[in-house]
């Protein structure tokens, strides 16, 4: 890894990343605030609570936790986090190659492995920050708006890590197309196209019984924070698969970057 390179990458993100973090935190806050202030929801929940007493808590179906888990899978979270993750990946190789800056940097005693690892460090940190930003936004809203239900802080923070893992997988897609391309626009188009198709597939495939199980071919099929937020159940298998979804494209990107010619720029 290269300290000066990581410092530059962080510096480049000094405006964009905080804005994205604020956006995601605001999204979490807004979601819980809407939940707390919605008359319809409140009345329904009050009626359910009165009808079932503590039953909801017993079976672990806290509506607020369910509501918060939906926010993790919502396109706004994915768009906000994906902007950072895919943007960083696409710029790391194809973007810098097209701009001509990669040639200047790699004419230094800087191994391509170091270049890649430095970007990876920033990607991992950024994805985790964004995941936790959503969790903290939700938790903050519970303090100010007192919604019906409960969000366990440690479970929310753990779900934030899981959300970060999903963003890392999206970033991996950005890196892999970046490593095979010499044009930022082309790498971005392919990355966004593949992610949109995977996201659409995760919604459409379950609608038809024969394709229901195929939803597991997408990383979104392995990301469901609801059991964790409701009952504190950590599906380690899902975490592992999600980690593989991130690791495999990143490994392919690293392999391709190490061997490719850098003729552009």
């Amino acid at each position: 890894m290269s300290g000066p390179l990581i410092a530059r990458l962080i510096r480049e993100q000094r405006v964009r990343l905080p804005l994205e973090v604020l956006l995601i935190a605001a999204w979490g806050f807004l979601l819980v605030a809407v939940f707390a202030t919605s008359d319809v929801f409140t009345k329904q929940l009050q009626a359910q609570a009165e009808q079932f007493g503590g039953l909801l808590d017993l079976v672990g179906l806290d509506p607020l936790a369910q509501w918060a888990s939906v926010g993790f899978q919502h396109p706004i979270f994915l768009l906000g986090g994906g902007l950072f993750a895919v943007g960083l990946g696409v710029r790391a190789i194809a973007g810098e190659l097209e701009a001509g800056s990669l040639a200047l940097s790699l004419s230094r005693p800087l191994a391509r492995r170091s270049w890649f690892l430095s970007h990876l460090v920033v990607l991992v940190i950024g994805c985790l920050i964004i995941g936790e930003a959503y969790a903290l936004g939700c938790l903050l809203a519970t303090v100010f708006t007192s919604p019906m239900g409960h969000l366990e802080t440690s479970w929310m923070l753990l779900a934030g890590v899981q959300g970060g893992l999903l963003l890392l997988a999206l970033g991996g897609i950005g890196f892999v197309f970046s490593a095979f391309s010499s044009e930022r626009g082309r790498a971005l188009s392919w990355s966004v196209g593949v992610i949109v198709i995977l996201y659409a597939a995760s919604f459409l495939l379950p609608l038809w019984e024969p394709t229901e199980q195929l939803t597991k071919i997408t990383p979104f099929g392995w990301f469901d924070p609801a059991p964790l937020l409701q009952r504190g159940e950590v599906a380690w298998g899902d975490w592992l698969v999600l980690a593989l979804y991130a690791a495999v494209p990143l490994a392919v990107a690293a392999w391709q970057f190490a061997r490719r010619d850098l003729a552009g720029g």
Partner: protein, 302 residues
Amino acid sequence: MANTECMSDVAQLRGVSKRFGDFTALDGIDLTVPAGEIRGFLGPNGAGKTTAMRILVGLLKADAGTVEVLGGDPWRNPQVRADLGFLPSDPGLYGRMRGIELLDHFAALSQREPVLRQRACDLLRMDDADLARPVRTYSKGMRQKIGVLQAVQHDPALLILDEPGEGLDPLVLAGLVELLRDRRDAGRSILFSSHVLAEVAALCDRVTMIRNGRIIGEGTIAELSDQQGRTVILHLAVEDAVIDLPGCSLVDRTGARVTLTHHGEIRPLLTALAALDLRDVRIEEVSLDTVFMDYYRDEALA
């Protein structure tokens, strides 16, 4: 005078080939850059200059042949690049950085102190106010200047510069020439390409010419000129006088004006000329422009 304490080669390409799909960019070229020498690298667009330079820097991998730069293979061993400075033909700079931040960043990546920055800034007329501005506000010439600065500031043993004079005004260009001569005199080696032949003629110890991925000529400018011969222009006192001069071949004869090309020793020619009845005589060394055009004539015609 060039430093001749160490005459070993700091960069070598031996039988290097490079293909991009069906296109052969380099076809078994040999190129050496000795220590303490400024080597000009000339060729028309697409001849293979940039490809050769990028192989020397380790950005491209040679398909065949051996590459050695500062004692190592720049593709396999990035550490050899610690003592190398590189300016690509169209350097991409981080536009949001201020000039000084950009230089600091590249100095840090080079793992060397920017010992030559101040002198280079002075010669290239780059002051503190310029360096305090974001790079995205720079003109083309300013961008080129800071591109040169990032390459030379850590005083590398080998400078590889792809058209360093591009976009520079004559004053700055003179500063660049002084800077490069200064580095050569300090024992550093420089490989540079340029389309400005006067710049090459003024600066280079030796020139390598490349066309269609093959080296077609190499030597000092005097040697290359000798290969092309001298131009001898005679104004005869008698129009139909018989001309038979040693080492000369006729290029043109219009009335009393005769144009010849001469190869070889000059003394026998002068002796023969003294015996002729002439109104005027001019003997011109072939300029680098002429050498260049002769080498690339086939391509120009094509």
